[in-house]
């Protein structure tokens, strides 16, 4: 038995900000949900089940907040699932929601992912010292900086590549009304002039800490055919590997490579650089753009930075990457993965507004989490999947 066809028929997100003091946690989720339901031309009555995703509960100080949120999410009297797979959770949550439709269990599923990071301090919530477990050291940047240094050494990339990514994504964000950071003056030079935080990662090469949410409505073939321009799911994949092992390559993780290979195969894609028209890739620190371009198979190993440097990942490039401004411009952690998945849907549906790429037929949504060990991805297309 194969998967039944499913499509994204509604997309919603909040205005992402450092502190959304105007809304509660429930209010934040509803802002995204109400937009997604309106986009799908549906109400809660049309929804069969709800899937919630977010990163660690310590970020808001609420244990399993979906229990308190059940009513606000329209879940009372319905099935409610809560996914948590670290930074990849927004992607994993969308995939679980999709599988409810693809398995034939439900017709229309609402999924929402959120983080209200201003309720606590994410960096220190990630840095609780634990016996016998390698410490993260002052947040994710401290953990990933050695991987970036290793990438630069292995690939021989010039030291300004990270700044090229940061300047591009910040300029892209100016075309996205929902983006958190709106820094009109950011250039490669200004990024290189910003303070070094975790060598070689500079301040302007890091993601912000945001309050925000994202919601999707995923529907079966029958329901999807009645809406304008559904974004059909052509492939989904999740892969994980453990944190600590001598044989792990954290610069180019095996889980990511295998996930991408499985994804392209599912979607019938043999040349991703040519066949993918827009990509939303999880880039919390600028250098991860060239690193993931290689991990995903868009370029051979060691050559991702060349595509970035050539302008190939800009809005008008051969592979526009993160036209929304990406994680570098908005980062409500639990929602960041779903935002990548959602922005891929907007591109396929032709609804990305000022950051729309012309003629997108297939788009990639990508998320990763933990110590570069959890991967979730999907490919969406403007036509129903052939297989």
């Amino acid at each position: 038995m194969g998967k039944l066809p499913a499509a994204v028929v509604g997309v919603g997100q909040t205005h992402h900000r450092a502190k959304r003091e105007d809304v509660s946690i429930a209010g934040l989720c509803r802002e995204a949900i109400d937009r997604a339901l309106q986009d799908a031309n549906m109400t809660f009555d049309d929804i069969d089940a709800i899937v919630v995703g977010k990163a660690p509960d310590l970020f808001e100080g609420v244990m399993m907040p979906e229990l308190y949120l059940a009513e606000a999410l329209g879940a009372a009297g319905k099935p409610l699932l809560r996914v948590h797979t670290a930074g990849s959770v927004g992607g994993s949550t969308a995939i679980v929601a999709a599988s409810l439709v693809q398995a034939g269990v439900h017709e229309r599923v609402l999924t929402v992912a959120f983080e209200k990071q201003s309720e606590s301090n994410a960096m220190w919530a990630l840095s609780v010292p634990m016996p016998f477990i390698m410490p993260v050291h002052a947040g994710a940047g401290g953990y990933f900086a050695p991987h970036v240094r290793s990438y630069i050494r292995r690939s021989g990339a010039p030291s300004h590549i990270g700044a090229v990514v940061a300047a591009k994504d910040r300029q892209n964000a100016l075309r996205n009304p929902y983006a958190h950071l709106r820094n009109e003056t950011t250039t490669v030079e200004s990024v290189l002039a910003s303070q070094m935080l975790w060598d070689p990662i500079r301040y302007d090469e890091t993601c912000p800490s945001s309050d925000g949410a994202c919601a999707l409505v995923i529907a079966s073939e029958d329901s999807a055919r009645s809406v304008d321009s559904p974004a059909w799911i052509h492939g989904t994949v999740m892969r994980s590997e453990p944190t600590t092992a001598a044989e792990r390559d954290q610069v180019n993780p095996q889980a990511g490579r295998e996930a991408a290979a499985a994804l392209w195969k599912q979607a019938g894609i043999t040349d991703p650089l040519r066949e993918i028209d827009a990509a939303e890739i999880y880039v919390p620190f600028s250098w991860f753009e060239p690193m993931w371009l290689e991990n995903l198979g868009f370029t051979p190993e060691g050559e991702g930075w060349k595509l970035t440097e050539s302008g190939g990942t800009a809005m008008d490039g051969v592979l526009p990457v993160n036209c929304s401004g990406g994680v570098l411009s908005s980062n409500p952690i639990g929602a960041s993965g779903m935002l990548r998945f959602a922005e891929a849907a907007l591109q396929v549906r032709g609804q990305a507004g000022e950051h729309q790429v012309d003629g997108v037929r297939r788009a990639l949504g990508h998320a990763y989490g933990g110590g570069s060990q959890f991967f979730a991805m999907w490919v969406l297309g403007d036509q129903p999947p052939a297989n």
């Binding site: 509960d57 609420v62 399993m64 948590h84 634990m130 590997e241 044989e247 933990g370």
Partner: protein, 350 residues
């Protein structure tokens, strides 16, 4: 729908686990036991899914370390729910239904003794209106028990009967952390703990881990002599707010039971961490007097957080495996006062 069965189950429970909150030291031997039962190896498992809580472990990403129990490379198809592992089993069942995989290993773990459980669980409530008052789990359950007594839905004797039967049955369960029946009169003579609850009306704080193996069609028939075929599995949730629902009822349990198709089950393993909650569940699931409830002793004998619901499904599956029943159900609950409920109905086939 594909035919999916429970073909492996292993568990560990204790009052205090002298190890890490990620419970990796428990999970490794549990996985080994599952491999031995099914003849599967790590490579035969198509999907892995776990259930646990960061708040119980007192750290972010506690499940990340638990992935170490699976082994290193190659990478695995894996997911995690911040819920009792019974819901991880639901996600795994779903994954098999999509046709993407044929087998799955589901696991849960939790070290409740690392904190003061009844206070930790107060953080599950509404952070704006309820948590600041710190109503702990036992007190919330006490309110529910009192509401039922006042409404005439049950009395203290009926609660003591549940506890006496559970603790008597637990004597035969090597995994029970509290056991030893007595008499209803003797139990009623014991002191109050959180009026109208006595100590034996409340599940013991328990650490532990467990795993279940699911597989489809012929893979299930290869792995077990008499697989416990899942004929229905469903879950629903009610509003959290204690003031917005009738605490003597659990509509989500009734709805899950109807959706899963309870039918004429012979054995029901109910996840009732408080004695009166079994009475609520029996009513909502429509279980008659002829149904054998919690032959394992249930949650009153051992209640490892984020695993106890999965254990109910495993215990119910074992009655199918050993031929002592042909139709059973496992139930899991989550949230305060039976807010969220899952029902899994299984049958043996000759």
């Amino acid at each position: 729908m594909r035919d999916v069965a429970v073909v492996g189950f292993a568990q560990r429970q204790m009052s205090e686990f002298d190890g890490s909150p990620t419970c990796v030291e428990l999970l490794v031997p549990i996985f080994a036991e599952c491999y031995e039962q099914t003849g599967f190896t790590r490579k035969d498992i198509g999907f892995w899914c776990s259930g646990s809580s960061d708040y119980l472990a007192g750290r972010s990403f506690s499940f990340v370390s638990a992935v170490d129990a699976i082994g290193v490379l190659p990478p695995v198809n894996e997911s995690h729910v911040e819920m009792d592992a019974a819901w991880a089993l639901y996600e795994a069942w779903l994954k098999i239904q999509t046709g993407e995989v044929d087998t799955a290993l589901v696991y849960g773990f939790g070290k409740s003794s690392a904190g003061v459980l009844r206070r930790t669980l107060a953080l599950q409530l509404d952070p704006y209106t309820l948590t600041p008052l710190w109503p702990d789990t036992v007190s919330v359950a006490g309110l529910q028990a009192r509401a039922g007594i006042d409404a005439g839905a049950w009395d203290e004797r009926a609660m003591a009967e549940v506890a006496n039967r559970s603790l008597t049955d637990a004597e035969k369960n090597e995994n029970a952390v509290r056991k030893g029946g007595s008499s209803v009169e003797e139990l009623l003579a014991r002191p109050m703990y959180a009026d109208p609850l006595r100590k034996h009306d409340c599940a013991p704080v328990t650490d532990g881990a467990a795993a279940i193996v699911l597989s489809a069609d012929d893979r299930a028939r290869d792995a077990a002599d008499r697989p416990a075929w899942i004929t229905g599995i469903a879950h629903h949730v009610d509003p959290l707010h204690l003031g917005s629902r009738d605490l003597t009822r659990s509509p989500s349990a009734a709805r899950a039971g109807r959706a899963a198709g309870v039918g004429d089950v012979e054995v029901a393993e109910l996840h009732a961490p408080f004695s009166h909650q079994e009475l609520v569940l029996r009513r909502e699931l429509g279980l008659g007097d002829g149904v054998r409830v919690n032959p394992s002793g249930g949650a009153l004998a051992a209640n490892p957080m984020f695993t106890a619901g999965l254990n109910r499904i495993g215990e119910a599956a074992r009655r199918i495996w050993d031929g002592s029943a042909s139709s059973t159900l496992g139930h899991a609950t989550s949230g305060p006062a039976l807010q969220q409920n899952l029902v899994c109905v299984m049958e043996g086939r000759s």
